[in-house]
């Protein structure tokens, strides 16, 4: 029998705070998950309200192994996340994880790009990359997690309203500051990922993107969260990859971004 890598646990909320409008940071005490997690993986978090059946997939923002804790930073986007954001220190959540593949560590000069609620998973990645890295963060307007990112590399900002950094998106920042690297890691909304993929291909830079899709099981059984793939996938035997299992991180040229 294969060594266990995923765990369903009852996690205890260590603390929670709203770090920007509708964006919450929650630290969870886990038994096994923190010890096994890596940057780019996600958690399935179950609602306590019984009418909500499906776990919410939320990426891991930070891992604190000595304290067996993981941090999630999420946007309230519906009834499930609204339930989570009302929870307080000491309350319990059922959590499965760590799920998905996570980012590879290519050990070469890197461009770490995060957009909006795609920023949180890039924090643990930035902390885990032990090489030269430039960090590009794109916000609508209100900034968050900047303090945590500072010290992890050179930081470049873009905001939609121009209130901080370049006015525009993350690629505008990359072009404006003429940022180069040997590998790009990116997470953010689909239009951003499409633009990053195109840019990396044009520049001939290796590129990894983290994808998102509606999920049910979170472990690769139900085939809800697939994306089209360039090559026939070995497991599914069709041109589809499971975002929760083969992903959420893919080489950009491997997958189509919807």
């Amino acid at each position: 029998m294969k060594k266990r890598e995923k765990f369903q646990e009852t996690a205890i909320i260590i603390r929670q705070e709203e770090i920007a409008d509708d964006i919450y940071s929650m630290w969870l005490a886990t038994e096994q998950i923190a010890a096994h997690a890596k940057a780019g993986q996600f958690l399935s978090i179950y609602c306590n309200e019984g009418s909500r059946l499906l776990p919410r997939p939320i990426s891991i923002c930070e891992i604190d192994r000595p304290d067996d804790a993981v941090r999630i930073v999420y946007r309230v986007a519906g009834k499930g996340t609204d339930e989570f954001c009302r929870m307080r220190t000491g309350m319990h959540l059922t959590v499965t994880g760590p799920l998905g593949n996570g980012f590879p560590n290519e050990k070469k000069p890197a461009l770490v790009i995060g957009g909006g609620i795609g920023i949180p998973p890039m924090l643990e990645l930035a902390k885990s990359l032990d090489c030269e890295k430039k960090i590009v963060l794109g916000f609508r307007s209100e900034l968050f997690l900047l303090e945590e990112f500072s010290g992890q590399g050179e930081i470049y900002l873009a905001t939609e309203d121009g209130s901080a950094g370049i006015k525009g998106n993350v690629l505008d920042a990359v072009r404006n500051y003429r940022l180069t690297a040997d590998v790009i890691y990116a997470c953010g909304p689909a239009p951003m990922l499409r633009a990053v993929k195109e840019y990396a291909a044009a520049q001939g830079i290796e590129c990894y993107i983290s994808m998102e899709e509606r999920m049910a099981c979170g472990i690769g059984a139900c085939l809800a969260c697939v994306c089209h793939s360039a090559e026939k996938d070995l497991h599914t035997n069709v041109h589809n990859k499971r975002i929760c299992k083969e992903g959420p991180v893919f080489r950009a040229e491997e997958v189509e971004i919807p």
Binding site: Y46, G50, R214, A221, C222, A224, C225, N240
Partner: protein
Amino acid sequence: MNTAVNLCGVTLKNPVMTASGTFGSGAEFAEFVDLNKLGAVVTKGVANVPWEGNPTPRVAEVYGGMLNAIGLQNPGVELFAQRDIPFLKQYDTKIIVNVCGHTVEEYAAVAERLSNEPVDLLEINISCPNVKEGGIAFGQSAKTVCEVTEEIKKYAKQPVIMKLSPNVSDIAEMARAAEAGGADAVSLINTLTGMKIDIHRRCFALANRTGGLSGPAVHPVAVRMVYESAQAVKIPVIGMGGIMTAEDAVEMILAGATAVSVGTANFTNMHATEEIIKGIERYMRQYHVADISELIGAVHDR
């Protein structure tokens, strides 16, 4: 205490099985669930060739339920037979392969390919609401249910379970049609066709527009249909539809189900199947039930 049931000559150690499509072929859930504990694993539907399935989003949550429109994505029977059957054979559980197709010939091709494989039973999906051809198209008229069953029975070496759709006006008529066509058992319910609209974006929540509703929201409908089918036929009825707990499973058995399938609950709780098995045993101890067969169809008027 005996929890074993006889399903078409196959002995299940307990009546709890997985519902097709929610459990893959068991490999992913095996990291959380001891498959040896299950009465049977019912695999995700498999066709004669690989199917890509529907565009995403393929699932949406609704109050007390979920909609899915996966579109029967599957790797095709050849890879399935080479990879998934040997995987399941490592475990002490029964293997039920769910079979899908666009045409009767495609169902027959799968049944034929599996005829010499170590598969215990076949479950024929004539009730998927999410594909244009095959699926539900075969499951909504008594005449075609009977004809498709007769045709598949010509090719199948294993006993055949016909999986029925609840999207019909008279479920008993469909169960009788399957029995008349030679089915060894019927299973029900598949999902109820539903729709969800995202009011903020004014678009359909699912790329397929419609999807199949499952989860506790459908449970009372399923119990009623299992009861009506069990009253109508002599062959075993397998009950499914929103079973979340052991109490839900017992209810289905009392309605007339010989075995039950747990589906959506697997998404809500990785350990749902094992917990339901333990809960049924607890119920039997509490009410001094020596043999689970005493419970099958034991419901009566108040």
